[in-house]
Amino acid sequence: MLSGIRRYLIRKTFVYVLTFFSAVTIDWLIPRLMPGNPISIMMSRFASLPEASKYMYSYFMESFGLDKPLWVQYINFWKAVLHGDLGISTYMYPKPVADIIKDALPYDIAILLPAITLSWIVGNWLGAIAGKNKKLDSFLMPVFYFLTASPYFWFAIVLAYILGAKLDLLPISGAYSYGIMPSLSLEFIVDFLKHWILPFLSLFLVMLGGWAIGMRNMIIYEVEADYVRYLEALGASEKTLMKHAFRNAILPQVTGLALQLGTMVAGALTTEIVFSYPGIGYILMQGILNQDYFLIQGCFLVIVISVLVANFIIDLLYAVIDPRVRFSFTEGE
């Protein structure tokens, strides 16, 4: 059995490495298949005399290595990546891509990590309650569905309108006041949290609906499962029953959580736009619109890695936890 798992692990690792290379290669190739090039678009932002533009165009083509054949660029790309160098952005020239990601990502994490984890916790909790309490369920379930059916940004707009513009309770732009300096003082933290609430809330509520529904359905399913009926017949307390049901229902939710956390590094684009909140989503979109090869491939590399890691963890979890799946992997030995 153990050797089966080891073999399974080796095979998985191999497949994951292969996936990684193919995905990164495709992501590298995609922007380069578009007509035009990043330097050309760079020129569109330079209001200068035609002659000056001509000089700069040839200079930048050469300095970014875009005058070389595609395969040379591809080799150079991997060489640089292996040295931890993601290149320089053309859109935010001359900032290195790695720095762009490093500077922007914390904001996404500050919003998304709490939004995902808290909505997961609260959603599962509410979902479990709805699952065992029929009266509450008939009232809560439509709310959950409505939340999860709303587009994030529309919900954000509505929140910004009511709480921000109409009632003037909370600020609706930026990550903190434009006039305050970041520090670990109470004042700044309060300011930061004030700005954080609306974007957080808009994501939290919409996500909450999804988790709650997943949990609710799972609990109902488990509560009605044969073994629970059996335990019930044996006279187990309701608390014990729920504990069992909950334990079984939580597994798929953990999977979902891992996957959500894996995609976190892609940012929360629409939320960022509505609240002018800094983050990687908006920068990546601008990178794409500006055909910034280096920024695109750098961001994609990070996304690919994190999604794959999340998937890998789930695969491992499944192999360890679910005996049916494990049997399927090791069958025929």
Binding site: P31, F146, A165, V307
Partner: protein, 305 residues
Amino acid sequence: MKSEKLRIALKNRKFKVGVAIIVFFALFALIGPLVTPFDQLGYYPVKLHKMLLLKRSTPNLPPMSHDVIYAPGREINVTHYLGTDSFGRDLYAQVVYGLRNSLIVGLIGGGIATFVGLTIGFLAGYRGGWTDEILMMITNIMLVIPTMALLIIIAAYMSTRGVIIESIIIGLTAWPWTARAIRAQTLSLKNREFVHLAKLAGLSDLKIIIGEILPNITSYVFMVFILQFGGAILAAIGLDFIGLGPTRGISLGIILQNAVLWNAINLGYWWWAIPPGLIIALFITGLYFVNIGLEEVFNPRLRRE
């Protein structure tokens, strides 16, 4: 058997509510355009020697406003059920046509995603081994290639894109989740006794898939489709909002994008920004109700009524 399921379904309150919502909006999208003289972008088309001129109303009118459109040689009285936007375009027309397009995206995008996901998930789950690994690898690659990038490159080659293209792209990028789910279902099914029995009986793979496994997950597939339907609509509205939607035609996401770009909220033109999102949220809620209703029908254990 079928009619009995239907009977149970019709008794299920969630199913009924869901169907009512869906039918209502579907009819609205179908019939709604008939009761407005405006075109899908909210302009009033006027014929002049066989040519169409696009006329505009007064900008920023609140819902149920009456206005006069001046066409060559005549004056036309119009009513704006949902008001007008900052370009004097009728919002009711934009919303009904936008909803129609959203439904198209949902059907085509959701359909493609379900079909592709189903096929791949089945194959991967049933065949196992290297087939499984390779298919799952493709699935994973698809998962990690952002939809946005694909949209842009395709857009670059097409110079403009319509709703159909958008739905195809969404469909072709949304299937991996379904594939994973179906694979997991197939994995657990194929180790059940009846499949082993069928194998022992020497039935071919295809026959086992069609005869033994498929019937066991038909209901599941249908529910997956409903979820993909809603998912495709939400994906499309998000893409539209960030400016990567159809470059011709209208959609609810585009209306919302314009509303935000042109300050509808701050200027108090709520009729521009609220209805499109509300309609989408309600419609998808309806879809979910049908989904859960069906689940209860097919899976008696879930029934609570």
